[in-house]
């Protein structure tokens, strides 16, 4: 058998401030007043920027910092927080072999500047974010729903959207679900995910 190693508790990872990180410094120097905070956790840098400046931030990262590849755009719903949503972008730089996460807050109903004109790759992810969270991207060339269908009501990944779905009027089994595809508003079984 293999020798017994002394059991150690796994070291707890902790987040720390990353304001002095070179990428954050460069962003702050180029676009003053846009960087709100920066932190590092598990070797990943997260920068929170002002919502209005998002397109300019993306342009700076792409042209000056060589983050040529936009990995993903998504959002997080914080429900009771102000602003309600975090829109989260992931960028990758081939020359640095590094990733950067950029976040900006958006209240319900507020527009976020689209980065689809900066990165073509952001087109569908932004549509998905609109579809799933109801966050509008101003300046997006084709902001339609993508995973649900035209005419769908609600945005499924919002925390107040019920897990069982909503009545869309498209009943598959009319005997069992007379009102449509899900429980009605006063159904006690209807619950939202918190």
């Amino acid at each position: 058998m293999t020798e017994e190693k002394p059991k150690e508790a796994p070291k707890k990872l902790e987040a720390h401030d990353a304001s002095s990180h070179p990428w954050v410094e460069s962003l702050r120097a180029a676009l003053p007043d846009t960087v709100l905070s920066a932190k590092e956790f598990a070797g990943q840098v997260t920068v929170t920027v002002a919502r209005e400046a998002m397109a300019r931030v993306a342009r700076h990262l792409k042209d000056a910092e060589d983050f040529k590849y936009c990995v993903d755009v998504t959002a997080v719903d914080w429900k009771d927080r102000q602003p309600r949503f975090d829109v989260v972008y992931h960028f990758y730089s081939f020359s640095k072999n590094g990733r950067l996460r950029v976040k900006c807050g958006a209240a319900d109903g507020e527009d976020v500047p689209s980065i689809a004109s900066v990165y073509l790759a952001a087109n569908w992810p932004e549509r998905e974010t609109w579809d799933m969270f109801g966050i509008r991207f101003s300046g997006h060339p084709d902001l339609r729903r993508i995973l649900t269908w035209e005419g769908f009501h609600g945005h499924p990944l919002r925390k107040d959207f019920p897990l069982e779905g909503v009545d869309t009027g498209a009943a598959i089994y009319p005997e069992e679900w007379p009102e449509g595809g899900g429980p009605s508003l006063d159904d006690p079984n209807r619950k939202a995910v918190s």
């Binding site: 058998m1 293999t2 059991k7 508790a9 796994p10 070291k11 707890k12 990872l13 902790e14 987040a15 956790f41 598990a42 990943q44 997260t46 040529k68 590849y69 936009c70 990995v71 993903d72 998504t74 997080v76 719903d77 989260v88 992931h90 081939f94 072999n97 990733r99 996460r101 990165y119 073509l120 790759a121 087109n123 569908w124 992810p125 998905e128 799933m132 729903r145 993508i146 995973l147 649900t148 269908w149 499924p156 990944l157 959207f161 897990l163 995910v193």
Partner: protein, 381 residues
Amino acid sequence: MPRPADGSPENPGAHTLFDVQEMELNFGPQHPSTHGVLRLVLKVDGEKILEAKPDVGYLHRGTEKLFETETYPMGIPHTDRMDYVAAATNNHAFCLTIEKLLGVEIPRRAQLIRVILDELQRLSSHLVWLGTSGIDLGAVTPFWYAFREREQILDFFEEYCGARLTLNCMRIGGLPFDLTPGWIERLSEFLDDLPARIDDYEQLLTDNRIWKKRTVGVGVISAEECIEWGLTGPVLRGSGREWDLRRAQPYECYDELDFIVPTRPGGDTYDRYIVRVQEMRQSVRILKQCVAKLGPGEIRGKVPRVIKPPAEEVYASIEAPKGELGFYCVSNGTNRPYRMHCRPPSFINLQALPRLAKGHLISDLVALIGTIDIVLGEVDR
């Protein structure tokens, strides 16, 4: 005598002789070559595609919503249903994200078995791709060969975890089971056999004149454009960029394994085919090294019984058979993820299809859907 170019005085083309109408054509969602339920709204002029608009979401099951309602380990089986021809890599990316959040170390034996499962999955995924995209272009024979070997790989999975497709074969911090007795020996026999089988596929296709006619110069895209569109995996490498997450940001024990990242300069469907076949050969190489390195040891790291990561966020990604597969996890300190987002390679790669298809014929579109290798379960989630 070669036919004069369309529009030249010798061949004025249909446009000048007849009234031509642009037509809108629904391609799918029920079409055998779309490999699932993908609908494309095509604007065509005769056989020529002027515009292609993909319409996805027919298989949307709200997987990301489901992740939020269940504990961390309960999310793993859901990942099987995303890219359902490559479940092991999905499990891997999911587990890796949570392990990063927890800061857990994986025992060496578990790392090696994970790499073995990943590479077997890559082989089986590429074999499905080879068989089906061959059939789409009229090459029916390779399908039977490719699925014969895939069947053997699925047998290995079945023996390991009981399932053939929806494997659920990884756990946060390691693996659910150790290998069964004799598994490694049978795998070694299979690996000795496989390169000759790959030669067989290549003999059927690589220098085949019809195959080349259908693939060379179809859907050409440069590496710069690939990056602009977010294309990763064999598509990016087929355009000449040597970028593979197994090499660029190694996870598990890929940094100590010796393998080549195959690339081709052309960026067309044929080059992507060559890259995938070469990747299969490299997978065999990696598997052989893992088999040689595999020693006894633990298969599970020190993970608490109830997984409650710190209230942080993390993104982790791996090189899945189709490209960069990443998960972004936001924890709020409870036993369920507050937000779990998947960055599926198929979804992002599919958005470049209109760019690739523009100006080609409808029959080339079939080749292009095959060459970007999408799985609709992952596109729609």
